[in-house]
């Protein structure tokens, strides 16, 4: 939740982005992970989450000149666009019978969904802060969905060494998730 000072800073950033579209990059970097996590939570499918995320930022960028600041965080507007983009995805997928990779709880409350989005965003953020080797393993395993042997080849290490790195990375993440909850 943004405090009054942060809200004011965000308002300035939004207005400067309306004058100079290249400033939109700052808003994009700030909210990318959350919007992607939201899209993933709603669609349960990586390809669909990428589509919804891309649609959301495309629409936001195109409609930014017409955006009117109403004193609520910019993310509220982005989430509304993302929710509509996800609803469009649902309509399409119900026609095309898309199977989600991740179980989607359609009856989950908004509060639970928000917690799930924030938890996922936080976890993705922690991955970026892992030591280089550990981050590469996690990125290749979960981001690119490579097998252990493919990761071992890409890193020039044995499969045993990669499994060990993977285990250490998960231990590091567990410790950092614990730290952030303390």
């Amino acid at each position: 939740m943004l405090d009054a000072k942060q809200l004011e800073a965000e308002q300035r950033l939004v207005h400067s982005s309306q004058r100079d579209p290249s400033r939109f990059a700052q808003l994009y970097d700030r909210y990318f992970d959350r919007i992607y996590s939201f899209a993933l939570t709603r669609t349960g499918n990586r390809a669909a989450a990428e589509d919804v995320t891309a649609d959301t930022f495309r629409q936001a960028f195109e409609n930014l000149p017409r955006f009117q600041w109403r004193g609520v965080p910019f993310s509220a507007w982005l989430f509304r666009i993302a929710a509509n983009a996800a609803a469009d995805y649902y309509q399409r997928s119900s026609r095309e019978q898309v199977v989600p990779d991740i179980q989607v709880e359609s009856d989950a409350s908004w509060e639970n969904r928000l917690i799930e989005v924030e938890t996922r965003t936080h976890l993705f953020d922690l991955v970026k802060r892992l030591p280089n080797d550990q981050r590469r393993v996690i990125q290749m395993r979960f981001g690119e969905e490579l097998s252990i042997s493919e990761v071992a080849r890409a890193m020039g290490r044995s499969e045993g060494a990669v499994k060990s790195l993977q285990h250490r990375a998960m231990e590091t993440l567990r410790a950092r998730v614990g730290d952030s909850h303390d």
Partner: protein
Amino acid sequence: MTNQATHDKLNASIETIISGRDFAATGDSDVDVLARLALGLRGLPARGFKARLRAELIPGLEARGLSGLLARLRAAVSFDRGTGLAAAGGGCGLAAGACCVGGTVVNLLGFASAAAVGAFIETWLPYFFSLSLVMMTVLLFFVLRREGSGHVMLTRSAFRSGAVAGSAYGVVFAATMALSMAMGLY
């Protein structure tokens, strides 16, 4: 249990998670805690997706050299904004009256007589005016193309953009005409 056996167990759980199935508890509480955490990593953004999308949305930030410079210039004079539209409309108005302004300057510098400049303006003004109308049409075409689809939005945008650019065009063109008339050239 050896370290290698623990790594294998966790890897088997992660393999199950990545393939989209629910993992079954292994009985090793340490491994199961890590596997539950790994569930939250399913769908981690693919490497490069964020950068690709950013480059697609805001190409000027990624491009280098001349193309990057041009993209940044385009962004700086974005026609989405009223000021950009007014400046572009004013530019078109200036193009329409370029022969009036140019003739006045030439006359003031003493390079041509008022009669010669007057004849020049009378001959060339229709051509400059036509050129400026073409420029205005191209300007509005690009503005409307950027506004996206939808008849209502497109019509509204055409009126709004046309009003802003047209007003600036009229003011600047009228000013150039008034200048040459004040100098007794036209």
